[in-house]
């Protein structure tokens, strides 16, 4: 950044940031999808509603849906800051550059970025959930329950978050079923019901009798329901969309963290942080287990959840080799967070390639 630009940003920031503090605390949300997706965005909006219930008139919340990365996100966040918002949650990883640009202009506004990785100013906070813990559990269930030994996986984008989910689910399916195979289809979207449904159909045609998804719509579940096979939901309890097919699903539970952060802003103690919460913190949960899951499988899954929560078991514990056969984790070795957050390889046994 040139000196001139710094100066402009500074002057702009000083003039724009003046009238921020009022009696009610304003909290803004920037969503990548529609609040009705029943997936990712829906769960963030549930947490927003939980905030309103928790704090009542002490806060005011607002949100904008379907905000594209780039210029649109920058504009929406700037308008929120201009309208006196004290705390802005942006809930998709691609908002990073935009949020940091806006944060530099509004030093008095607190910014929270879900699944982000860029932190250039001290008013940008990062938070994320250890969804791979949940993937381990549903991987275990899938490995036990598949008859065709083929699990279909609908992935969104080839980023570490998604790749680590595939690896975690595969490792735990493989541990209980050495013959299991994973078929991965990339949708290149977080929310595209038509494409997700087409992906599910293709996977079923290839013999999958259990579908997992890392996309947000309920379309794969309804396809699974029609085909008479099993599937796992995503983000929220989607059982109502496929009562017979829905086994369980990983829940995104944001409310406890949001309540804590809003409270900090109200108290004036908010500071930028970088957290990665898991089952133990309550950020990763599970939809009710279906009755179709056999009793012993259910007990094993619940034991695994308890062990992960107690810190006795880490889903990425060696020995684990990379796809090409080179060793990654030695016997008993546990993956570091840094390794997981930059994961760009499949583990041994997965036959397809990560698109590049």
């Amino acid at each position: 950044m040139s000196f001139k630009k710094l100066l402009t940003a500074g002057v702009l920031g000083a003039t724009l940031a003046a009238p921020v503090f009022a009696d009610t605390t304003k909290v803004g949300f920037v969503y990548i999808g529609p609040v009705g997706d029943h997936g990712w965005t829906y769960t963030h909006d549930l947490a927003r509603i939980a905030l309103e219930e928790e704090f009542g008139d002490a806060i005011e919340t607002s949100y904008v849906e379907n905000v594209a990365y780039g210029a649109d996100a920058e504009r929406v966040m700037t308008q929120m800051a201009l309208s006196g918002t004290d705390l802005i949650f942006a809930t998709s990883f691609g908002y990073g550059p935009d949020m940091n640009t806006v944060a530099a202009r509004f030093p008095n506004v607190a910014f929270e970025h879900a699944t982000g990785y860029i932190q250039e100013t001290d008013n940008v906070s990062l938070y994320n959930a250890r969804f791979y813990e949940g993937r381990a559990v549903i991987g275990h269930i899938a490995g036990k329950m598949t008859q065709t030994n083929k699990v279909g996986y609908i992935a969104s984008f080839p980023i570490p978050e998604v790749i680590m989910g595939i690896n975690s689910a595969y490792l735990h399916a493989k541990a209980v079923n050495p013959d299991v195979e994973f078929n991965v289809v990339w949708a290149y979207s977080w929310y595209d019901p038509a494409q997700e449904a087409a992906a599910a159909e293709a996977l079923i045609e290839q013999g999958a009798d259990i579908i997992m998804q890392h996309t947000d719509s309920t379309a794969p579940l309804t396809v699974a329901q029609d085909a008479g096979i099993f599937a796992f939901g995503q983000a929220s309890d989607m059982s109502a969309f496929a009562p017979q097919s829905h086994l369980t699903g990983i829940l995104d539970v944001w409310a406890p963290y949001y309540i804590e952060r809003v409270q900090a802003v109200i108290d004036g103690t908010w500071e930028a942080g970088d957290v990665w919460h898991g089952i133990v913190d309550g950020m990763v949960g599970f939809a009710p287990f279906s009755d179709t899951i056999p009793e012993d499988v259910r007990a094993e899954a619940e034991d695994m959840i308890a062990a992960i929560a107690a810190g006795e078991y880490h889903p990425f514990t060696g020995p684990i080799n990379k796809q090409d056969g080179t060793p990654w984790l030695a016997d008993g070795e546990v993956a570091s967070d840094g390794d997981l957050l930059t994961m760009d390889f499949y583990v041994e046994g997965i036959t397809s390639d990560i698109p590049n």
């Binding site: 609040v35 607002s62 949100y63 780039g70 700037t78 309208s83 990785y117 080839p158 760009d344």
Partner: protein, 361 residues
């Protein structure tokens, strides 16, 4: 008994009046919709149409944003309108926009991190060339094999999107950030950054280019032989052939111009407001520009007004969501109404309603 009667000539008055009438009808119908959603309709309409420009809180920020949002729409729509006048239907501007961005960004990333005044002009040329090249596929398929340019150009959008994803994940991926798709941020590479020319005005090179394109298109359509040929081919293809207009040449020229302008728009976006090549880079400017072209009556000046109006509904729509909690879908319905009412009203440009006595036999 109400009867329809075809006008001898399309009504000039309604051609001009209909867009304004469509805006008014959209406001009224939108107000009803917002009221049904339980929101104050007056506040909603004010938020969408007036606050982005006149509000004390937002105005100074959103006025420049209006230019940033409208410039690509205008730049693309001006090119499309030339083709539409000649009955040549380029529906795939979104794809040409993507290819322009990729070509432009490709030049920037190839030079990174070298400084140099010549890098940005090269990117401009590359961007226009990328869009031109992508538009030449439907053009040549049409002139050689008589394929339908509507289908070919539209389907090439999806091909361009796949290439965009492949680039963001592969060749153009930022090597400094492990594991994430997306190129380097061009806004942080001085030689390639399409920055604001004057601080806080929103005026970047794309806005200047849109202005130049509008003037150029206006002069061409009203003063130049090519403009005459375009109009002739659109209105009387047989007469055009007798006048020596080569249909094949016209197809190549019209698709070429619109492709190059769409490519330019993509290049200015990726090096400025968009910032980087990412999988989700294309947000529909190429499709919205079709609405802008028609709303602007395929006239360059009209397109400027239409582009600004649509830009306004985007920015105002965000304010409406933020402040009134209008659903995002309601804003999209609202924008859709605009085209719906315009097309419905255009009926009376060519027809008139007549009250007639007696029963028709």
């Amino acid at each position: 008994m109400i009867r329809l009667e075809k006008r001898k000539e399309p009504s000039k008055f309604w051609r001009i009046a209909n867009p304004f009438l469509a805006v008014v009808l959209t406001m009224l119908a939108g107000a009803v919709m917002f009221a049904m959603l339980g929101k104050d309709p007056v506040v909603a309409i004010r938020l969408i149409f007036f606050d982005p420009i006149f509000s004390d809180t937002f105005g100074s920020y959103s006025r420049p944003q209006l230019l940033i949002k409208s410039a690509p729409l205008i730049l693309i729509a001006v090119g499309l309108a030339v083709g539409f006048k000649a009955n040549i239907w380029n529906i795939g501007a979104e794809g040409q926009y993507i290819m322009g961005a990729l070509f432009g960004a490709g030049v920037a990333l190839a030079f990174f991190p070298a400084p140099g005044w010549y890098i940005f002009p090269l990117m401009v040329l590359a961007g226009a060339f990328g869009g031109f090249l992508w538009a030449m596929i439907p053009a040549i398929l049409k002139t050689r094999f008589n394929t339908n340019e509507i289908l070919v150009s539209l389907l090439l959008v999806y091909v361009a999107e796949k290439i965009l994803a492949a680039m963001a994940l592969g060749v153009m991926r930022n090597p400094d950030i492990a594991g994430f798709p997306g190129s380097r941020d061009l806004r942080r590479y001085e030689a390639a950054h399409n920055a604001e020319l004057f601080a806080n005005t929103g005026i970047h090179w794309g806005v200047v280019a849109a202005l130049i394109a509008v003037i150029f298109a206006y002069v061409m359509m009203t003063r130049h032989m090519l403009g005459f040929h375009v109009q002739l081919a659109g209105q009387a293809p047989r007469a055009a052939r007798f006048a020596g207009v080569s249909p094949a040449r016209l197809v190549v020229i019209c698709l070429g111009i619109s492709g190059a302008l769409a490519g330019l728009a993509g290049m200015f976006e990726v090096s400025g407001p968009g910032g980087q090549v990412r999988i989700e880079f294309a947000t529909g400017y190429g499709f919205t520009a079709i609405i802008v072209a028609f709303l602007g009556r395929l006239n360059p000046i009209g397109i400027v007004l239409a582009g600004l109006l649509l830009g306004l509904t985007y920015i105002g729509g965000e304010l409406g969501q933020m402040i009134l909690q209008l659903p995002g879908a309601a804003i999209q319905v609202f924008q859709g109404m605009l085209l719906f009412f315009l097309l419905a009203l255009d009926f009376q440009t060519n027809y008139r309603l007549r009250l007639s006595k007696g029963v028709r036999t």
